[in-house]
């Protein structure tokens, strides 16, 4: 009976899947509307240029033809008062003089017969609005398909869990872990469950990164090194310097058709899940206890520093890297405190390798700090390093990290050494003034948003409970409580002492009283390293981890020596999480103005934050959508822009070599080739560091400009891919062998 039920359910679900697949593949329609409207210069206007548009539910691309002689004098928006609330989702798109047509998406969830297209004009410059073309896309069906597949998988997982529970094959310990981890993830994800964006510091930049990855993938660039539409189609090499690996997922959601804010919010929820699970797994294994693992996970995932970085300043790279920090600590702890011959310890190098690789590929600055911390640990445990087993494990970890990250490191080092980018010229940037005050470290209820006191721009917080953890551990150590412990526990506590000292050290380094300015003045390398840090609060991530480790040690000690105090400890953790952490979470979303971005036009393509990866000497304010500039004697008969390239038909009728300057940022890798003879044309830097192709005298023909990654970039990608593939295959085979033996 049950099997029949399962069969029927599977058939129905599969049939729905096939229908959805068919809908994803059916031809798309195009709706064309003729019209023209000339706006009177000097008179501000808001006019409905098209109305009564009928559309069935779907996701559409709106192309409105226009001509203007100035940028940002008008914008187009779509509205409809007849559909249900939430039945039409879109933002506006600005008009640019060299663009000529809009290209923004609208989501229509209910059939409409009265869609309006309005143009808002500020009266400056000239404006002509022409025909309208609305292209249907498959995105509605791909979105539904994605949700359907997710629901199918989630339903299957839940059903499996219920069955295991009913058959009493799910241990109580696992159920407790599932319960508390779900609670931690739910609480930490509250700001991302409302479909809104908090206007956090770096959010615009990271949303642009996600869009860039999406555009790059759609243009065939795998992996995405230069985001093609960024900087008004000039291209921005953010992907070379700031790894986009983990942004693949939200970019895929964007490709499937989900709006920008939703894709980002889903990514944040996944980061919360990963952080909670990884930290739980690591601390559970370090302290050999389910409860202590859960408590450490709660303290870490719901730490003020992490919540602040996710919600208030949206430093995507940093909070993504925080997923992997516990892996590093776990790996170091296992390598330096346990016998390397034990089975558990033999795999400790993998935690180090994947942790480091994850950090390298999320946030390079965190990687720099982590590398320094690993060096400190190695120096403190220098005698252990010379044990062959330990040395081998560290070596394996290092090699694996490099192999896994090679695909990112090679282009990064290549461009860093060969490109004159802006970030290499900011060593004069000082950071001490952005440090915290001492009181900021033990704040309990953090006021953010409209109620925030007048703080420095890059305030962050740590939390009193974590200071207490460090202090209690210090107290236990000073009073000699750890002396009576067994050998294996003593090694754990010794590691904890080093971690505690590092924790206090990081806290000190995050303060404004720490002499960063003096350190910067010592030499050029110090100046560069300090300047690269940007903000002293970057040390709070590691400080949080050290404090949580100290907490774990305290609980481990109490479990073995004073169990009666444990309920008080759990109460303290719970109180901290439910007050301090949740207070900040609630105020982050509730005490500020929020917005929702549906399509990238709503945020534009020009914002690049601190311009770190711009070629030095570029005048950022002069960048906009543009047509090619032509030198004397050259004539362009045809111009077809492409992603990170173009096809031009031109001739040089002058008596000397001429040039054509394209609106593309000149990063190394652009090549120009004649399409018939395949002869390469020389490329030099243009006036604003743009691609400038030299046209020889007498040249007549078509040439293509294209960004071609160097061969060694491709080679590094193959190595990384091969490394991870071999690892997965070996692990799968080992798993199957173990199962067969069992």
């Amino acid at each position: 009976m049950i099997k029949r039920k399962i069969r029927v359910t599977t058939v129905i679900l599969s049939a729905v899947f096939v229908i959805l697949l068919f809908c994803c593949l059916k031809p798309c329609k195009t709706y064309e509307y003729e019209g023209n409207r000339v706006f009177v210069t000097g008179a501000e206007a808001q006019e409905c240029v098209y109305k009564g548009i009928s559309l069935p539910p779907g996701v559409y691309r709106v192309e409105l033809e226009y001509r203007t002689d100035k940028d940002l004098v008008a914008y187009a928006t779509v509205s409809d008062n007849t559909v249900i609330t939430g039945g039409l989702l879109t933002n506006f798109e600005n008009f640019y003089s060299h663009l000529g047509r809009t290209n923004f998406e609208i989501w229509v969830f209910e059939k409409t017969d009265d869609l309006h297209l309005d143009v808002h004009y500020n009266g400056e410059g000239s404006l002509y609005v022409g025909s309208l073309v609305i292209h249907e896309t498959h995105n509605l069906w791909t979105m539904i398909m994605t949700v359907y597949l997710f629901a199918w998988c989630a339903g299957f997982a839940v059903r499996h869990l219920i069955r295991l529970n009913a058959e009493e094959r799910l241990s109580r310990e696992k159920k407790i872990a599932i319960f508390w981890l779900s609670g931690i993830v739910l609480v930490s994800s509250v700001p991302f469950l409302s479909g809104l964006s908090i206007p956090a510091g770096d959010l615009g930049y990271h949303l642009s990164r996600i869009e860039g990855v999406k555009d790059g993938l759609l243009s065939g660039q795998i992996p995405v090194r230069i985001e093609p539409k960024w900087l008004y189609n000039h291209g921005y090499a953010s992907g070379v310097f700031y790894c986009d690996l983990f942004l693949l997922f939200p970019a895929l959601l964007r490709m499937v058709g989900f709006p920008v804010t939703l894709s980002y919010n889903v990514y944040c929820i996944l980061v919360n899940i990963a952080t909670a699970c990884v930290s739980y797994g690591c601390f559970r294994k370090i302290f050999r206890g389910n409860n202590v693992g859960l408590a450490c996970s709660a303290l870490y995932t719901l730490s003020l520093n992490r919540i602040y970085k996710m919600c208030e300043i949206a430093v995507v790279g940093e909070y993504t890297a925080m997923i992997f920090l516990p892996l590093i600590l776990y790996g170091l702890c296992k390598v330096f405190t346990e016998d390397h011959k034990t089975k558990e310890n033999q795999n400790a190098w993998m935690a180090l390798a994947f942790g480091l690789a994850g950090i390298v590929q999320s946030h390079v600055l965190t990687c720099e700090m982590t590398a320094g911390i690993i060096i400190i640990f190695c120096l403190c445990y220098i005698r252990k390093i010379f044990i062959p087993g330990t040395f081998l494990m560290l070596l394996k970890a290092a090699v694996m990290t490099i192999l896994l990250s090679l695909w990112f490191l090679v282009p990064f080092v290549d461009y860093y050494l060969t490109q004159d980018i802006h970030v290499k010229h900011v060593s004069g940037r000082t950071i001490q003034a952005d440090g915290l005050e001492v009181s900021d470290l033990y704040v309990f209820f953090v006021k953010v948003g409209r109620d925030a006191p007048d703080r420095k721009a890059h305030f962050c917080c740590f939390g009193g409970i974590l200071i207490l953890c460090l202090a209690v551990f210090l107290g236990l150590w000073i009073t000699g409580c750890f002396r009576k412990a067994q050998d294996k526990d003593k090694r754990l506590y010794s590691f904890g002492i080093l971690t505690m000292l590092l924790g206090f050290g990081f806290l000190a380094m995050s303060l404004s009283v720490f002499p960063w300015d003096q350190i910067q003045k010592t030499n050029a390398l110090a100046a560069t390293l300090v300047s690269n840090l940007q903000f002293p609060n970057r040390f709070l991530g590691w400080a949080t981890l050290c404090a949580v480790y100290a907490f774990g040690c305290c609980v481990y000690y109490l479990q073995n020596n004073a169990r009666t105090v444990l309920p008080f400890v759990w109460f303290l953790v719970g109180t901290n999480v439910m007050t301090s952490g949740m207070y900040l979470i609630d105020y982050s979303i509730c005490n500020t103005d929020t917005y929702t971005i549906y399509n990238p036009a709503g945020m534009g393509y020009g914002y690049i934050s601190g311009m770190e990866y711009l070629i030095e000497g570029t005048d950022y304010d002069a960048l906009s959508y543009a047509q090619p500039r032509i030198g004397e004697g050259a004539e362009v008969e045809g111009y077809e822009p492409k992603c990170l390239g173009a096809v031009l038909t031109c001739k040089n009728t002058g008596n000397k070599a001429s040039w054509v300057e394209l609106p593309l940022m000149l990063y190394r890798g652009y090549r120009a080739k004649d399409m018939e003879s395949k002869r390469e044309l020389e490329i030099i830097p243009g006036e604003n560091q743009e691609v400038c192709v030299l046209i020889p005298q007498g040249y007549a023909g078509s040439f293509r400009v294209k960004f071609i990654p160097p061969w060694y970039w491709r080679f590094s990608e193959i190595i990384s891919l091969a490394t991870i593939s071999i690892f997965i295959i070996r692990k799968t085979m080992a798993f199957k062998t173990r199962n067969a033996k069992a």
Binding site: I84, T85, G86, N165, R172, K175, I176, I178, F179, G183, L186, V187, V190, P191, F192, L193, S194, G195, L196, P567, M578, M582, Y583, D586, Y587, I589, C590, N591, T594
Partner: protein, 375 residues
């Protein structure tokens, strides 16, 4: 694990009840924020009644003068007391505080009555904690001290009493008509306080009666509607006449005022008049899930299951994506009736009220377990 040996200490519970009562009444000792949105409506209605004559429903002019459309269809019945107090004392502040005193005091008494009927004498901690959760429900406090919506608050006071009557009716073997009449009177009272609560109470009563095959419970909505006939007449006028067109409910949509997913989980702050479930309910629901999932304890009381499902239904009604606008398209009467609901947030408040039942029971069981008693 015997962590708290308080289960047999009645005095502890008495002290806690006293503490709850003090906490409920404490805000009345502070200065009143007369800028609360709906309090202005309350003041104009009380002043109109104090001037006389008594009108069961306020004049349209009163609403136009106060500038507030909310609660337009609620009666003046529960404004009689404050109007009398205003006439006697001459002070609107005194009238307000004494009215709130009766409301808060009444809610404590009726909540205890209901949870006693729900859990019985053997689960005293469940009664205490369930009542505590109900009394401290964030939405109820929002109504009381942020919105100043005393009409809705009066409804919240009568709802536990009505639920008590329904429970008694369902289990009574003798004097059934006593509970029918009592329940109908209370239901009508809820209607005269706030018509949205009246409609919700009728809906839940019908579901309780239909799904539990307790046909006697279905008598309550019938008798309640008879007693609430003047109010139903006002609703009729709203839906089918142009008497209330001055409020321009045509085209008024309530969907944008619905809750987003994250709004339900707020504790310390909230957006757009959407208070979340608060710490107490969150802890209670967590305990419910713990017992169900980790300890595999099954529910053995009908009321637990019913209130849980009622909360789910009400939660759905409060969600921003619930298609109220599709309902409004069914015709002009629906357009106006749905618009008159004001905000779907009301349903979330009621959902929180329903959740107090399973949450209170779970927390009570937790206290018993920590005290070493088997539950």
């Amino acid at each position: 694990m015997k962590l708290l040996d308080v289960s047999h200490h009645k005095i502890v519970r008495l002290i806690l009840w006293g503490g709850i009562a003090l906490a409920m009444l404490f805000p009345l000792t502070r200065s009143v924020d007369w800028n609360q949105v709906i309090l202005r409506e309350w003041i104009s209605r009380v002043e109109e009644l104090a001037r006389g004559p008594f009108r069961l429903f306020p004049t349209v002019q009163t609403y136009i003068d106060s500038g507030i459309r909310d609660n337009a269809l609620n009666s003046n019945l529960f404004f009689v007391l404050p109007a009398l107090l205003l006439r006697v004392t001459g002070s609107i502040s005194m009238a307000y505080r004494m009215t709130m005193f009766f409301i808060q005091g009444g809610t404590i008494v009726f909540a205890k009555l209901f949870f006693d009927a729900c859990f019985g004498e053997t689960e005293s901690w469940a009664v205490l904690l369930g009542a505590f959760l109900y009394l401290t429900c964030p939405y109820r406090w929002f109504l009381a001290f942020s919105q100043g919506d005393l009409s809705m608050l009066m409804g919240w006071t009568l709802l536990p009493l009505y639920a008590w009557a329904v429970l008694r009716l369902s289990t009574a073997e003798k004097h059934v008509w006593r509970y029918v009449i009592l329940g109908a009177v209370i239901l009508a009272g809820i209607g005269y306080a706030h018509f949205v609560l009246f409609g919700t109470a009728i809906l839940l009563t019908c579901l309780w009666g239909a799904f539990g095959k307790r046909l006697t419970a279905l008598l309550l909505p019938i008798c309640g509607c008879i007693l609430f006939m003047p109010g139903l007449h006002q609703l009729w006028l709203l839906a089918f006449s142009d008497r209330y067109d001055v409020w321009d409910l045509v085209g008024y949509t309530i969907m944008p005022k619905g809750y987003l997913l994250g709004d339900y989980l707020n504790v310390y702050a909230f957006r757009e008049s959407h208070p979340g479930m608060g710490l107490g309910l969150m802890a209670g629901l967590g305990t419910v899930i713990w017992y169900r999932f980790v300890d595999s304890k099954k529910n053995d009381k009908d009321a637990m299951g019913f209130f849980s499902w009622a909360a789910v239904l009400l939660w759905l009604l409060s969600f921003r994506v619930f298609p109220w606008e599709w309902l409004q398209r069914l015709g002009r009467p629906f357009l106006k009736l749905v618009g008159a609901i004001g905000t779907p947030a009301t349903f979330w408040g009621l959902a929180c009220g329903c959740l107090c039942v399973p949450a209170g029971r779970a927390l009570g069981m937790l206290i018993e377990d920590l005290s070493g008693k088997k539950s």
